[in-house]
Symmetry: C2
Subunit: 344 residues, 2 copies
DNA sequence: TTTTTTTACGCAATCGTTCCCGTAGAAAGT
DNA sequence: ACTTTCTACGGGAACGATTGCGTAAAAAAA
């Protein structure tokens, strides 16, 4: 079963013209007489002719397609970013192919190879929690593949990047916790190698230090798979809650960790914020409906996608190799709700 | 700035062979001597050769790409379906292009034209709330484009379909509301033209009837844009709540409507289930964290994606035109939580 | 009338790959 | 020694569209 589209040849044959003439007529070339143009255009319309983009891609050696790799589209943050990406891409006649790494380096590599072999013109990526070996990305970039990083960036590759001010976001969030009376604040984070983890934990540390609270490293927990595996959040929470000086609040650095934490705290019969405060990064639109309504740090996800795509198209369409790269840093927004409202 | 990949010609030139020989060596043809094969394979590996899929697509007149149109990927149900689609597609060497209609018929048409002009081999679609004119889809199907519908199907086009038993799902949900003591049960739904709306409302009606409750048509409200516009949920809720005999429970037939309802009820200071019960279709994984934990009807979204893709690949790869079509009907699952737990 | 210019088209190469043919040269059969 | 059969490879068309170049015929200029 195959879908056969009309080609320029069909038009040429039907009208007794050459394919060149038809092609030129369709593109409104000055060398074609008005009558012929009219003839061709009308017939093309009649048989519903559309140029074959694959043939065009082959000829022009560009696919007008950009690849996007995120860990998962079911994550609100990433789906919002993707919406931003698509809005700009489609407006510029570009197509978007989305691939999910699911926080696995192997899957990320597979997707990367798949996308590049599919002749994408450029790549927008937020790396997985497992990604430490960036040689493939580096090679790709060196060979001329335009790449833009967002959110989870890698510092070693020189290209455009779009992030938020993770440090300040985490600093303000932690400060808010302290101001609310919490002292023994644990942090649950993605692996430390991740750029966002580093920055967010740095902000957390600084806020504690600025308020005269010593950083207790044993209150810092990492989830290797970014909470993709529910059990790992469970494990670190059990560790934290079995301490003699239990934390009175938890700061989480990722969406999945934030909601995962709340789920497990509730499953364990702990009341939030009664027994323990909770605040974390999350772009989920429904956190205000939670019990308790969650205090969260939000990123301007849609805008990040827009900016990243703007950067990428700039790289793709630049005639000369670009050597001057920008890193756009956007502000985060802190939403204070019940999960950090201490009853005292 | 352009990314130039190695071609078969590069190999041919470097080794003093013809492109035909290289091509055959790479495909392990019997007409090529073992020594030549080894030579070619090693060199190809060395320069990291990958066949250009665009050239292949042009030659084979298939893109190994399937198009997916949903209303939005940020919706849990659809992102889960997409995960199911991708898992099967990738395992079979197919690529997936996702497009969002955002409940707009115009956008759906644009995406449809875009995808077909991008030479997709097949299409998986759940139509928008606005879609009534299906002539384009019909034409496409007639011309040989393999199409599989899921969730929001159209009865007029004969092809494979994947749905859930919406009728029974809604029947059981409504029965549960009645058993819980609710009598004056309103329903908020997507437009009636949508297959799922029809079926779900039919289940709702039958459950009322079977329990001796007369269906009050004025308790049935429709949201034209499926809750994409927050205001429309607001409007219908205001209408319902300003009645003299207010509904004591609400049954919603779509994810966005369910969460939207809860948000507005809370904004209006109404307690759920104290003042009003709430139960609806939703595939959101976080509804149990809500205040109150939401009673929901879930669809086996991932499985639906898998099955739809299986059907589509079957259509694409079938040598002969397929005339015998299946409609797979999967069961829904009812989760009873606090939003329907009447305090009495 | 002859030459030049313009108009309006066709031919053929190109993109990367596959595949149907054709064919040297070696091996095998007579 | 001569014919036949393999073996191992090359030539070239094809997929659909674009585009530089060449060119008849018509129009304009000489």
């Amino acid at each position: 079963m195959k879908f056969e589209a009309a080609t320029i040849k069909d038009i040429a044959k039907a009208l007794g013209l050459s394919t060149s003439t038809v092609s030129r007529a369709l593109r409104d070339s000055y060398e074609i007489s008005p009558e012929t143009k009219k003839l061709v255009l009308e017939y093309a319309e009649k048989i519903n002719y559309h140029p074959n983009p694959i043939a065009l891609s082959l000829k022009e050696r560009r696919s007008r397609t950009i690849g996007v790799i995120v860990c998962e589209i079911a994550n609100s943050f990433f789906s919002q970013v993707i919406n931003g990406i698509e809005s700009i891409a489609y407006n510029n006649g570009y197509n978007v192919i989305i691939a999910q790494s699911r926080e696995s380096f192997d899957r990320e590599m597979l997707n990367l190879q798949y996308l590049t072999s599919r002749s994408i013109d450029g790549l927008i990526i937020s790396v997985s929690t497992e990604t430490t070996d960036i040689s493939y990305l580096k090679d790709l970039n060196k060979k001329g593949m335009p790449i833009v990083f967002f959110d989870r960036i890698v510092s070693d590759i020189d290209t455009h990047k779009v992030i938020v001010d993770n440090y300040t976001g985490a600093y303000n969030a932690t400060s808010h916790l302290i101001k609310s009376g919490y002292r023994n604040i644990a942090a649950i984070s993605n692996p430390e190698m991740l750029s966002i983890s580093k920055e967010r934990l740095a902000g957390y540390r600084k806020a504690l230090a600025d308020n005269g609270i010593e950083v207790d490293e044993s209150l810092l927990k990492y989830c290797k798979h970014g909470g993709m595996i529910n059990d790992e959040v469970n494990t670190v929470l059990r560790e934290l809650l079995s301490r003699k000086n239990k934390p009175d609040a938890i700061f989480t650095t990722a969406d999945k960790l934030t909601t995962g934490c709340l789920r497990i705290l509730k499953e364990n019969g702990l009341s939030v914020p009664g027994d323990i405060g909770l605040l974390g990064f999350s772009n989920n639109d429904l956190t205000e409906l939670f019990d308790p309504a969650l205090s969260v740090i939000k990123q301007p996800a849609f805008e990040m996608g827009e900016i990243a795509t703007g950067y990428l198209l700039q790289l793709i369409e630049s005639k000369h190799p670009v050597t001057d790269f920008e890193t756009k840093v956007l502000p985060t927004e802190l939403f204070i709700r019940n999960s950090t409202r201490r009853k005292d």
